[in-house]
Amino acid sequence: MNSIETTLESVVIRFAGDSGDGMQLTGSQFTNATALLGNDLATFPDFPAEIRAPQGTLAGVSGFQIHFGSTRIHTPGDRCDVLVVMNVAALKANLRNLKKGGVIIANTDGFDAKNMRLANVPEGENPLENGSLSEYDVKTIDVTKITRAALADSGLGTKEIDRCKNMFVLGLLYWMYHRPMDNTLAFIQAKFKKNEAVLNANIKVLQAGWSYGETTEMFANRYNIAPAKMEAGVYRGIMGNQAAAYGLIAASVKSGLPLFYGTYPITPASDVLHELSKYKNFDIKTFQAEDEIAGICSAIGAAFGGHLAVTGSSGPGIALKTEAIGLATMLELPLVVVNIQRAGPSTGLPTKTEQADLLQSFYGRNGECPVVIVAAQSPADCFIMAYEACRISLEHMIPVFFLSDGYIANGSEPWKFPNSSELPNITVEFAKERASSDDKFMPYFRDEKLSRPWAVPGTKGLEHRIGGLEKQNITGNISYDPDNHELMVKLRQEKVDLVANYIPNQTIDTGDDSGDILILGWGGTYGALKTATQQLITDGHKVSHAHLRYLNPFPKNLGELMGKFKKVVIPELNNGQLVKIIRDKYFIDAIAYNKIQGQPFMASEVVAYIKSQL
């Protein structure tokens, strides 16, 4: 039949189903196809902490949201235009994320009595039948039945057949949004090359989904979304944790130092380990230690030995590493600490995002223990900031925190990846061999950055001892001298402060450099704050947005930059952390705006809040 073609600027689709329904895979396949078409996009996977949460229940619902368009896209979208639900629990959990008047594509088989019971929906209250969805455009399909019929002759068991359901949905959406299937076909071929029956079944159901759109009359509309006008260049898709891993690898290559990553599995940081462990041929040495403490301590050993040493975790693991971060600070060795933040405290919400650990990064150690802190603002930015963390750490002989969060770690976006020659150089020089006739080696002799020489074991004439006891400046010998301790505490602080001379100045991301309100953000809220600011400016308000990627030290011009606005509002996904530090350092009456729900900001929430402050 002939369908009506409509051109849209952007669309938000959310796939939701049981964690066993393959929604993450469906979402990521749709994302790849969309990226290859040249749309700009942002994604947001939202899944339960339990690997196999009870089937059919609200707790087991797994979602994947993608926002794509012909314009620049900065967030996965506040609310979706299309909600695909594989069962009633998925509908119940996600309906609030759907725009009024939006499309619901529902798998009716997931709305049977059993599913209703599991989702705690009273009997006779099937939302597909009781009229409660009258404000939406509801399309019902018995995906299970169609899939089973399509595969009746496949020789596969019902369980295996039902696992192909997600391909039907994917095929249908590919048809609706004019996405090519080639990419997914190639993926299926590769994934199931050892099992031909399953391979063919997936392809068949994918095509059945496409044909369903084409032949039934239920879907009268097809949509075109033109490629986005993006900066010219070559692009690829990238996820945050993958980008972080690439940033570390790039720093290893550019510094000429092999990388050692000592870590312990933890959500949502483990993917950094998984990614790095694939690249042993880059001299990337990953070590899954017996615990978080051994993860960082092994990295300190590697740093002593002259490697680019990195440890990675999330908040609870960082808490365990605290004492060792203090040791690295005393040793004045380079060490990068990756923290992919999640909602806390304690175990908190492992799969949910939160800007939970800024204060932990600043202050969470015994004694005066300043470290450098940088934070990524988007999935692709994880590459740059992980690289920056390594650069600063190696060139200043200092521990550096790299902060990311669950939202950007698992999110993805198109990435205009750099050529390796465009990356800033990382200059590392080990202390040189000495003859016995030379002066005695001074392990805590400092250069203009206040960093000490990196004297790796095996170098003749550099034998020296370092440790956690207070050092005498210059000689590095143990010292209990009161004046020396004060000097050393000040020196370690000054060393961090001096890093400000080696980082870029703060810029305004969106808007004028003066006005009524400066929205000051950091980390993964970038997209939402930028989108909100654009909206506010369109609405005629004098609002600007600046986003911090260097948090300790702050860029040198930050105070001046903030001073040009009547108010500074600091939106954070926590109970107010950056705002405390800004108030403390700049004595300004910065306003905290906080959300602590394990979910990212919606641009519309930010717009509403800022309007209330104007």
């Binding site: 990226a35 290859l36 040249g38 990419n183 986005a228 993006m230 900066e231 010219a232 260049g233 070559v234 692009y235 690829r236 898709g237 990238i238 690439y246 690898i249 790039a250 290559v253 050692f260 000592g262 690249y279 042993k280 041929n281 001299d283 040495k285 070590f287 230690a289 017996e290 615990d291 051994a294 301590c297 092994s298 300190i300 050993g301 590697a302 002593f304 030995g305 002259g306 040493a309 203090g326 040791l327 205009k416 990846f417 750099p418 050529n419 390796s420 790796v456 074991p457 095996g458 170098t459 003749k460 550099l462 034998e463 020296h464 001892r465 370092i466 440790g467 956690g468 006891l469 010998n477």
Partner: protein, 340 residues
């Protein structure tokens, strides 16, 4: 290659004043290590000593080698990371009973199962010295200390049995008061490829004086100790008149004059089952009929590949299989698109 200059024990002494209590067993261990190292034929800069926290852990400051005095219990983990990345170095771990078996217990057993090529000197004084005398995980039950005025209720670890249980590949015991034996054992430990775990009975004359007296003092040493030598019968006593026989799996003390020499237990360092039995010669010396305490090498396994070898072999294998990594290829990934 330039010839390695012959070093002396003085070359291994740093300029730092040694600050253990006068009479502490640690002095002897420092001396023996400084005596052994020059004989190993390795340039000084290749030695690294890593310690945790405790009296013993001051050790690296007194050695003129590379060293790190780290944090409590973590020397084993730091040394594992160093050895994994720098297998060319000779890495030594200096630890105590509290450092390795209390706060660092987890890293200690995991180091042993992984078997990096490290030399671990475990100074066992059965007490917390640095914190001024609380009971340790090797203190005997009932130990009265400042933290246990009515005696400790904890049962002690048997360090040798613990190490064997963790599949250590070199397990030995020696004592501060026997320099020659200590030197020989340290040398053997160095020669072993894999983790060499050497427990050293070390007298803390301030907080636990005499803990090992019956093993170290002339009057009782011969009766109470059993010096194991590979391939030789297990003998002890004033004139080596007593021996050990195995009745099935059950060890029995015999007068050698009563048995044929063929029936005596001949020490075999490579026999894990027998090493396990010997590790259980750990009775309270006041018990009638107790076994003598064994010293020497309990067990050696030269066939277990080291962690550092396996770890680095994978890097080489990946390079052979995929070629040296190409950063630009990695960044581009498999699928790209062009925006004009």
């Amino acid at each position: 290659m330039t010839a390695i200059e012959k070093l002396t024990s003085k070359d291994f002494a740093s300029d730092q004043e040694v600050r253990w209590c006068p009479g502490c067993g640690d002095y002897s261990i420092l001396k023996q290590v400084q005596t052994v190292l020059p004989d190993l034929g390795r340039p000084k800069e290749e030695f690294v000593f890593i310690s945790g926290i405790g009296c013993s852990s001051r050790f690296p400051y007194y050695m003129d080698t590379f060293g790190m005095h780290s944090i409590h219990g973590r020397a084993t983990a730091i040394a594992t990371g160093l050895k994994a990345t720098r297998p060319d170095l000779s890495v030594w771990v200096i630890t105590g009973d509290g450092d390795s078996m209390s706060i660092g217990g987890n890293h200690f057993i995991h180091m042993l199962r992984r078997n990096p090529d490290l030399n671990v000197l475990l100074f066992n004084n059965q007490i917390y010295g640095l914190t001024k005398g609380q009971y340790s995980p090797t203190s005997e039950q009932g130990k009265v200390t400042k933290s246990t005025p009515m005696g400790s209720v904890d049962y002690p670890f048997n360090p040798i049995a613990l190490c064997l249980g963790a599949d250590a590949t070199f397990v030995a015991r020696t004592m501060d008061r026997d320099p020659k034996h200590q030197q020989a054992i340290i040398k053997r430990g160095y020669e072993h490829k894999g983790t060499s775990m050497i427990e050293i009975y070390q007298n803390c004359n301030v907080f636990n004086d005499g803990a090992f007296e019956i093993f170290t003092e002339k009057g009782s040493k011969k009766q109470e100790t059993l010096f194991m030598e590979n391939g030789k019968p297990l003998l002890f006593g004033e004139q080596n008149e007593k021996g050990i026989m195995l009745d099935g799996f059950k060890p029995v003390i015999v007068n050698i004059s009563d048995v044929s020499s063929n029936d005596l237990w001949i020490h075999d360092e490579t026999d894990l089952v027998k090493a396990t039995i010997l590790s259980r010669f750990y009775d309270d010396a006041s018990i009638e009929g107790h076994f003598p305490r064994p010293f020497g090498v309990f067990y050696v396994n030269e066939n277990k590949a080291t962690f550092d070898d396996l770890f680095n072999a994978q890097i080489e294998e990946a390079k052979t299989n995929y070629g040296k990594g190409d950063l630009d290829k990695l960044l581009a990934g498999r699928e790209t698109w062009v925006v004009n």
